[in-house]
């Protein structure tokens, strides 16, 4: 996780610099940082790395979504006569969500898929971020005496 998205290096990945910036802006609207600072915002996650693991067909659709969003925002900029500030860009993105629900759904899905596997998020949720194996987990065996009412029943199978 980084504090300033502009400082996140853009390495080799499926999205161009511009596309990644647009995706991050959308991700920041989808999952903003919470106001208590307990949960990071999705814009702070290095999504490019996670995206390289997505299937090619899904990435193609994602690129199309991001380009559509960028085109929509550019249209808003043109209408307003200049570059949008952060609040205006957020409004434009929110407006896109309402007018392009299917494209927005993929952006939400992608954001969640990257966000909820990031170590910073898992730590913030109180989880151990390491893979389940070989760590394992403790699960309480449970109180089998809860079955006493069932044990009293006669067999009822045919």
């Amino acid at each position: 996780m980084v504090d300033d998205i502009n400082k996140i290096p853009v390495g080799e990945g499926p999205l161009t610099n511009q596309q990644l910036r647009m995706l991050r802006s959308a991700a920041g609207v989808i999952v903003p940082a919470d106001d208590k600072g307990a949960m990071p915002g999705a814009a702070q996650i290095d999504m490019q790395g996670y995206l390289t693991e997505r299937p090619p067909e899904e990435l193609q659709m994602l690129v199309a979504c991001v380009d559509a969003l960028a085109g929509f925002v550019a249209g808003q900029e043109q209408a307003s006569g200049g570059k949008l500030d952060e609040a205006a860009e957020k409004d434009a993105i929110t407006s896109f969500a309402g007018t392009h629900p299917e494209l927005w759904q993929l952006l939400v899905l992608t954001t969640y898929s990257c966000y909820y596997q990031d170590e910073s998020v898992l730590l913030a949720l109180g989880m151990d971020p390491s893979p389940p194996f070989p760590r394992g987990n403790e699960v309480e065996p449970g109180d089998l005496s809860l079955l006493d009412p069932v044990r009293k029943r006669k067999s009822f199978y045919r």
Binding site: Y50, Q117, V139, L147, V150, R158
Partner: protein
């Protein structure tokens, strides 16, 4: 052409093929199994990596159409509300199953006699019981004796942990006075026969990196190989061939490089599941069998049964176990299993409690159900969902109907040019009423357990993981494909041992019964070796 003739050729190295191979190995016959998939490497299962949740939706999806691996074949499911779940590998579907391992009830073999629908099986629970027990030992089944909902049995291992989820929902069942019991699970809850015990990893349905879940690559296959069975992987069978006498004499298959081979055999055993088996038979046409091999009854590919599933989930106010623990195995209820004439449907279902979800699955579940907003309220609502959800699936007995079929698609093929299967299925009125009842009762239990915001989904579209009925068993050759010990009525050295031979589906997971049947058929073959083709 391969010059060697094997005594027994088994097609498919999954649940039934493995059990068959192991059992027949003590005859010292030359046994060969051909499997189109490969050996799995547990070190590469998703639970060994941080992206374990996302991989359930890509290369470890239960749907072959989503996975698209080179060991998969595509399936045309456009005419089915339920999608097929399968897996091609040594271990087959057991690599990805949840390892839920209940047995049929005795009455499940007598559906016609008891309830006036479907048919009776040509064998009884009593005949299968020794093989259920043998299979429980081979696979290592964890459970608890004394369940009043089923016949007596002695699971070799203690039950899987109830966890907070099991206790919470168990108390809900108690409030209503309904049956519940720890689920029979093919999971090593203690070290067992060289396998270490379950670590409660969570993503069981993406393969068990610990080896505690009983897939047949870690149970039957090591023993079968030690006993001399040969297993060839990446061998995709295209068709079964016949000699001039109308007996099966082998198969034609493609190896990993796409090179065609002929393998000759004295006996052929199909163990390719309720989709793969009819597909192979239908693709094995000849002048003797223009409608597909062993299909004089016309029933190959017909009577396809899934188990229509309902998913009912709720949110609780206190933290539960999340994704931890054997994901699909916890407790179950058979309160509504047996037919009750007061209800609007015949037969019944099992409610199987499922544990919670990981962080990503929680978010995606909320996205799909529309209950998790994006934006400013995301974190607040998410915190009320994460590690606080639990629920159940209801497995509904599916009745055999001839219009539910597996046929060969006229256009779609696999990578070797073999016609893909096409599934045509519609949900019956009986199934729909059963699902409605299950959703209502499931909601009732979750409320009794303290859940709020209950959601449901029925039938679950992706839940076609039980594939049954498409080469059914029976005494009458006009009404069945194989006889009471799995031998084709039409081709006496051809046997079928997978879920295709099911006459009815019961309201429970089929793997325990599939394997018990495979062991029973193998045992019967061994007892009749001298006159196997009479």
């Amino acid at each position: 052409m391969s010059k060697d003739v094997v005594d027994v050729l088994i097609i498919g190295a999954g649940a039934s093929g493995a059990a068959m191979a192991w059992s027949l190995a003590d005859t010292r016959m030359k046994i060969l199994c051909l499997e189109q998939g490969d050996w799995m490497n547990p070190a590469s299962y998703p639970s060994t990596n941080r992206n374990w949740e996302t991989r359930q939706f890509s290369d470890y999806s239960i749907s072959p159409n989503v996975r698209g691996l080179d060991t998969d074949y595509p399936i045309n499911e456009q005419d089915s509300p339920i999608s097929v779940a399968n897996f091609n590998a040594v271990g087959g579907g057991t690599v990805l199953y949840a390892a839920h391992f209940p047995r049929f009830h005795p009455g499940d073999f007598r559906v016609r006699s008891l309830d006036g629908v479907a048919d009776d099986w040509p064998l009884t629970y009593a005949q299968l019981e020794p093989f259920y027990a043998e299979n429980d030992l081979m696979m290592g089944v964890a459970g608890l004796a004394g369940d009043p909902a089923g016949p007596p049995k002695k699971p070799p291992l203690p039950p899987v942990p109830l966890g907070r989820v099991g206790e919470k929902i168990g108390k809900g069942f108690n409030k209503l006075g309904w049956h519940w019991w720890p689920s029979d699970s093919a999971i090593a809850t203690l070290p067992y026969q060289g396998r270490d015990k379950c670590l409660n990893l969570g993503p069981c349905i993406s393969g068990c990196a610990q080896g505690a879940k009983a897939s047949t690559d870690v149970t039957y296959w090591p023993a079968a190989l030690r006993a001399g069975v040969e297993l060839r992987t990446r061998c995709r069978v295209r068709e079964i061939t016949l000699n001039k006498q109308g007996m099966a004499d082998g198969v034609i298959y493609y190896d990993a490089d796409g090179v065609e081979h002929k393998q000759r055999a004295e006996v052929v055993v199909l163990a390719s599941n309720g989709i793969g088996t009819p597909r192979l038979l239908l693709n094995s046409r000849s002048s003797l069998f223009p409608d597909g091999l062993a299909n004089r009854s016309g029933l190959v590919g017909k009577n396809l049964m899934f188990h229509p599933y309902a998913l009912i989930q709720g949110l609780f106010d206190e933290p539960l176990d999340g994704y931890m623990g054997p994901s699909g195995c916890c407790i179950l209820s058979q309160e509504f299993y047996e037919t009750d004439p007061a209800r609007e449907f015949v037969r019944g279902y099992t409610m199987e409690i499922v544990r919670g979800m990981g962080p990503l699955s929680t978010a995606l579940s909320g996205l799909v159900s529309g209950t998790l907003p994006w934006g400013d309220d995301h974190h607040r609502v998410y915190s009320e969902m994460f590690n606080r959800s639990a629920g159940m699936v209801a497995i509904c007995e599916d009745l055999p109907e001839q219009h539910n079929t597996v046929t060969l698609d006229p256009n779609l093929t696999d990578s070797n040019g073999i016609p893909a299967p096409k599934v045509t299925y519609r949900l019956s009125e009986n199934s729909q009423k059963m699902l409605d009842h299950a959703v209502a009762r499931g909601s009732e239990v979750l409320k009794a357990a303290g859940a709020r915001e209950i959601t449901s989904n029925a039938p679950m579209a992706g839940a076609g993981w039980h594939l049954m009925g498409t080469a059914r068993m029976g005494l009458d050759p006009d009404n069945s494909v194989v006889n009471e010990w799995g031998r084709s009525h039409d081709v006496r050295n051809l046997f079928i041992v997978d879920g295709s031979i099911f006459v009815t589906s019961a309201g429970v997971n089929p793997t325990s019964t599939i394997q018990a049947l495979a062991l029973y058929i193998a045992d019967t073959m061994k007892k009749n070796l001298a006159n196997l083709f009479d």
